[in-house]
Assembly symmetry: C2
Homo-oligomer: 334 residues x 2
DNA sequence: GGACGGATCTGCAACGATGTAGTCCAACAG
DNA sequence: CTGTTGGACTACATCGTTGCAGATCCGTCC
């Protein structure tokens, strides 16, 4: 059996509650008593049973983090940042992989998972705002700036529109006129895909360059999605002198495929992405992309969520801070 | 307040314990009673409080996973696999990032963290076997095949030695004779670095190629570590026609740096790595490497740990299964 | 010298589930 | 008709903490 507060109390010759008070840094304890308790804790190797504490206090000091899959670099890096931010504030993070399956997302939103956490950080991919609002319980919930946007929900926003416009403008400034977009379908207007596509269109319009739907190719936001998409594009005989991948993974997949097929990057075709994952910097050629402020997103989201949990935010006041982005110009699109 | 079993019991007109029995699929319950309970659960939206269950049952159904940092692709991919394996067996995974700091590792090994989990999967980086054995409590512990090797500890082994020899032999077969090794120091013989270096040496010896310590360059197992190391090597005027990065990240960093400096890969210099992270396949040129059987490692480790937790393994019988590896020949070293 | 108040410590109930040890009753054997 | 068996259910204690409401102790003050 594990050592309990009772054992410590017996050894220290005080009441169980005094041990509890020492552990919780209760102010009014005689230094000598405190020392005796600490010595007993040391002697017995006592560890607080966090499960019991949680049951009694109603707080687990854990945050849930729902994302698609940790094997996707952007999510892994974000998760790492979230964990660090949470750790600094005395919380742990319990990650749940939805695998991009709406049922899994819904389960994470409602299920017993929630009883293990004080609040949830959620990167929705399959559910829309209505489903999220309907499905979520009473515990705090903060969305991480991806697909869903809704005035009723706390979330940290990514400047999808402006950042995508910045990337596009950069490509246009470099003299590119036929910029393919991978990862969206013509007509998308919501979600990260839609908003980024809209940003792209706006930048084109600003520069007086016509929008050509034939340049927009839908695909999975993964390396092989990008490789597939670029293959289809090349086979379609549509002319293009630049590629804007709506995230880095697919941009890197496209970059790889272009090089395999003997295209010169950036000589013939410039490539740009979105996310600035670590890998982008070390690709060959290194990938021009836009950093959506990952560390800031993690920090703000954790802060927002914990403020809610600890009741520091007026209940009805929805918060939607926006993270700053930054264009990272590298070799693939100088 | 949340709905409790008591509320369900009242609504269903049965005792609290019967509700518990229904939830835990106790065999002898009248179908009509069961239905009434299930209806009440539905009506009230009852969710089992996992914290309470854990306290009473002494099981959390969570596994701890201690690794350096999720932003490192190999760990992220391994974590993803571990979570999936655990999920299939009814366990969740609580990840703890040690940041490669021995104090953090020790804290994760001993601290209150352990009270939250039924067992621990541990990728030690800074602690040695003695410290691990001294630090670990009574709960099950399984090491993931990296640095530490010890007959007293359960662990899933990576075939560091043989796999490294296979990579080296492949490079030799390709006609390379001056193969630089990045990520170890001359004289290392233990840990992943040492074992892989030994494998490299053995392959050289087999082929009758002399070992030259000047070709062995220590560095962090990260992209920028590899870039730095290759820079030092190039500046040192040591001749080499191949590079073996002891993990993929540093191999990719080295690859990037070689290309930046105008070297042809694999024309002038072949590059190989170790780990087969997703990124390796999409690098340009794609990276020759060795897959250590990540999915298998995760699966076996989780299986082993859960067998221990659930008492299906004889207490004293140490288990050390070994994962199969596979050479993945790609463009960087055909 | 008794009232007062703050420092210090204690005891008990409670958090929400599960384990153990029953109770009750119908069916059935002898 | 009694005794036994096993299905279906219940009561109560319990897991290890913390919140709440005191209980002591002791110095200070009038």
């Amino acid at each position: 059996m594990a050592v309990t507060m009772n054992d410590v109390a017996r050894v220290a010759g005080v009441s169980l509650k005094t041990v509890s008070n020492v552990i919780n840094n209760y102010e009014f304890i005689r230094p000598t008593t405190k020392q005796r308790v600490l010595d007993a804790i040391d002697e017995l190797g006592y560890e607080t049973n966090l499960t019991a504490r949680s049951l009694r206090s109603g707080k687990t000091n854990m945050l849930g983090l729902v994302l698609a899959d940790l094997s996707i670099p952007y999510y892994a890096e974000l998760a790492s940042d979230v964990m660090k931010s949470a750790w600094d504030r005395g919380y742990r993070v319990l990650v749940e992989q939805s695998g991009n399956v709406p049922e899994h997302e819904k389960a994470a939103l409602q299920g017993q998972f929630r009883t293990l956490t004080d609040g949830l950080l959620f990167i929705p991919l399959g559910l829309d705002a209505e489903q999220i609002i309907a499905g979520a319980g009473k515990k705090p919930l903060v969305l991480l700036g991806e697909y869903v946007q809704d005035p009723r929900l706390d979330m940290v926003l990514i400047q999808n529109y402006k950042a995508a416009a910045a990337v596009t403008t950069h490509l246009l400034t470099g003299g590119r006129r036929r910029i393919a977009v991978l990862g969206a379908h013509d007509g998308d207007t919501t979600g990260s895909n839609g908003l980024r596509l809209e940003g792209y269109k706006a930048a084109l319009a600003d520069a007086g360059v016509p929008y050509d739907p034939a340049l927009v190719v839908g695909c999975d936001w993964r390396r092989d999605g990008g490789a597939d998409a670029i293959t289809r594009l090349l086979n379609s005989a549509v002319e293009f002198d630049a590629v804007f991948g709506l995230n880095d993974a697919l941009a890197l997949g496209a970059l790889h495929e272009l090089l395999v097929r003997g295209k010169k990057v950036p000589g013939e075709i410039a490539v740009a992405g979105f996310d600035d994952i670590d890998e982008a910097r070390f690709a060959s050629p290194s990938l021009t992309t836009v950093a959506p402020g990952r560390a800031e997103i993690a920090e703000r989201a954790v802060e927002l969520l914990i403020d809610r949990i600890e009741g520091r935010t007026a209940a009805h006041k929805v918060q939607q801070p926006e993270a700053a982005f930054e264009l990272r110009v590298r070799q693939s699109a100088p």
